[in-house]
Symmetry: C2
Subunit: 229 residues, 2 copies
Amino acid sequence: MSSTEKPVARRTRARPARKAPAQRPGPVGGKRDRNRQERTRALIDAGLALFLERGIDSVTVDDIAKKAGTAKGNFYRYVEDKRDLVDAILAPVRDDVFAAMQACDRETDAAREVTALNAAYLKLAMRLLEAYRTHPDVVRLYLQEARAPGGDARAPLADFEQKLTEHTVALTTRAHEHGLLKKIPPMVSALAVIGAVERLLLAHLRDQAFDNEAEAVASLVRMVMEGIV
Amino acid sequence: MSSTEKPVARRTRARPARKAPAQRPGPVGGKRDRNRQERTRALIDAGLALFLERGIDSVTVDDIAKKAGTAKGNFYRYVEDKRDLVDAILAPVRDDVFAAMQACDRETDAAREVTALNAAYLKLAMRLLEAYRTHPDVVRLYLQEARAPGGDARAPLADFEQKLTEHTVALTTRAHEHGLLKKIPPMVSALAVIGAVERLLLAHLRDQAFDNEAEAVASLVRMVMEGIV
DNA sequence: CGTTAATGTGACTTCGAGGTCATGCTTTCT
DNA sequence: AGAAAGCATGACCTCGAAGTCACATTAACG
């Protein structure tokens, strides 16, 4: 944020310039800047497409670079490694989701009546739906790869799953304490809903499984309302 | 089944004996036979343990052989490759589950009243529970690895997921036709239940998530009954 | 326009995993 | 016992992926 230095520290042949420098060269809207963003996008898109199709571990850095239309060496100028790329792919969704959940936390804290609580939960659902609509492929990657351990490229996804689950359980616990739910352990109802939603999303994203999308959503809502609320 | 040959065709230095012969040497309870079974068990157990801990693709054949207390070359005497080992690990569960579902199919075919139908479904649930109790680790491997594509070692798990889903949807459709369920598309209710059950099982197997197991099961049943039945 | 440094390239190095094989050991059968 | 064949071993070979680097190209800035 704070500009402690000139755009670039001019030193005569010092670093071999291995990694891209933290501070980009001068012009903010300049060609360099634009190229950088294009390359980053290309790498993220190529990686996401290949990961979805063939699985994270089966995809090589060469594959990604080629599909992004660049050379392998350049890949390492933009990301540390495959794990870092997965992290970059996941980042926007993760940020959206956490922001939505924290906002929901604040609203339920401030709420004094049941209607305010319900409004907060509804708003959360809307924001999550929005994130899903904006980044369906990222959600699919998460659904497909988050559960398998090992190969640290998947670590960002596993972390996200863990945090997401914890937060959801906490939220459910709170709803439970306010008497909004049936006498079912919050852990159980939270996991059941997460599992059901995730499985339906996966079927939708992988197989276009539902003729009537709206009916499917309505059915899901009905099942949840009658099953746990 | 039929013994067309003597235990082994004696030829003077013919095959280099690369793979284990289909027909084992003579004694059925002999030392050879016992050793074979021990090795197979050791490999399956070692593979399963390592796969669970580090993920299928991160585990090498060397790792498995070492953990099973044998040499790498020997690994290939017992299985084709990692995929084949995964298949061997999954086999018992798959057989149990398919047998149970086919039995359920037959019983629902023969059923003339609702009570008989309900009995068939209950029996299926009991048999699935039994399979889970007998092979919890295999179930966990399935839950962790089935969704991710690529790396053909996981293909047996993906196949199983697909068949299992299809069969469950068919079963649900039938129940729906008999008027046992709410007006919810069978695809939706089937996937929702599968997803919820799988997520709860995973939490149980990975994290010992439930203080009171019986209460968790009762809650799940209640949610399903009130949510979709 | 010329200099400087960031950016792009792909051949190269390194390393580890899959799979093979010559050799020696064990079981079986006569 | 002794031969025959399955069984076990780990060094070895091969291949492909990760990551590096010297050099070429391009943008920035005077």
